[in-house]
Symmetry: C2
């Protein structure tokens, strides 16, 4: 069966988004800097239709994020944070051709018809919970894995339910001082570390269920 | 000049000690498990007068912790947490022959005469602040480095003051769900990652000031 995987970048003080998230800064204050390891990469630039870029030890992790999955699950804030964005005109943060290129299942309490974008991305809005979203995403992904897109609260729900098969935390040397914590509301638990790779400005640690 | 270095083990959810620290469990609930990578090592066992043990990718980091420094600075809780322990009879957690074997400077508000233990460890009690402690420790360490022993609040004070030269965070796959956070009260900041090494059950990330 396809795995549910989360690849996420975390500041060394534990945040996956900074404080004061808003339409203008969806990742909060300092949040964009978390992805300073990803954005200069050739793999990332290609996925955004740009030329050039670096190839280094971080490249396989960027490839895993950008090309590995057959479907994505994300939370409502990841698709669009504000109430006004639940108008039918809101189509996510990514423009007409989102970088997913596969079905995306958005967890929400607001029913909405599927939204088909350019380039193979269709947003499906799931209102009946995380297990249903996972089931639908697995069906859509076929042999490929399902990527958990975030944010933090959705990640915590899947972690707490024991439904996350694999987790790659890319730890960056930034301190955000506040914002959305990845590992919270999870109590005392243990993962199993299966890989550690350091690249320029980041350390990728792969975990599975212990 | 000798460097001020902190080597510390942190749970993936950000804690260097668990909740409910007490005389019975000085590292709090689950806190002892943080050092599960260190305790089985030959280097660690030797430093505690025991035979046997493992040699693996974690060994250089254990050696760095156990044998590298010429002096140590620690906080009052690290030496002894409870008020009763400030009686002259309290000699720290480590028995008659503490594993430091060099001068240890304890930051405290309680003046006390230096306490000479077996094996070359002498505890000096510093009441006039972190800069004074660092100056005294550097003088004692000579050409060798000064190790910052913790806990979290002392580490934060040296980090915030820009006095910490090097920081090795050993990230373990445990979640403690509460306790003492290493990176807190530090606002928005950035370190520079200079090394990442994965060993059994832990990833060591070395940072310097950015």
């Amino acid at each position: 069966m396809s795995k549910l995987k989360l690849n996420i970048t975390m500041s060394i003080d534990g945040f996956v988004a900074g404080p004061d998230q808003s339409l203008e800064q969806p990742l909060g204050a300092g949040g964009e800097e978390l992805h300073g390891w990803l954005v200069p990469l050739k793999t990332f630039r290609e996925s955004h239709g740009q030329e050039g870029g670096e190839v280094n030890a971080n490249t396989p992790f960027a490839e895993e994020i950008l090309a590995g999955a057959g479907a994505t699950i994300m939370g409502r804030n990841m698709f669009g944070g504000g109430p006004g964005q639940w108008e039918e005109s809101w189509k996510g943060w990514w423009g007409d051709d989102p970088p997913y290129h596969h079905p995306v299942f958005v967890l929400t309490h607001h029913p909405r018809k599927p939204l088909e974008m350019d380039g193979g991305t269709t947003f499906h809005f799931v209102t009946d919970g995380i297990e249903s979203a996972l089931e639908q995403a697995r069906a859509a992904a076929g042999e490929r894995n399902v990527s958990l897109g975030g944010g933090a609260s959705v990640a915590q729900q899947y972690l707490a339910a024991g439904l996350l098969d694999e987790l790659v935390v890319s730890v960056v040397p930034n301190l955000l001082g506040g914002g959305a914590r990845l590992f919270e509301n999870l109590g005392n638990a243990k993962l199993e570390q299966v890989e550690s790779v350091g690249g320029p400005g980041v350390t990728h640690i792969r975990y599975v269920r212990a």
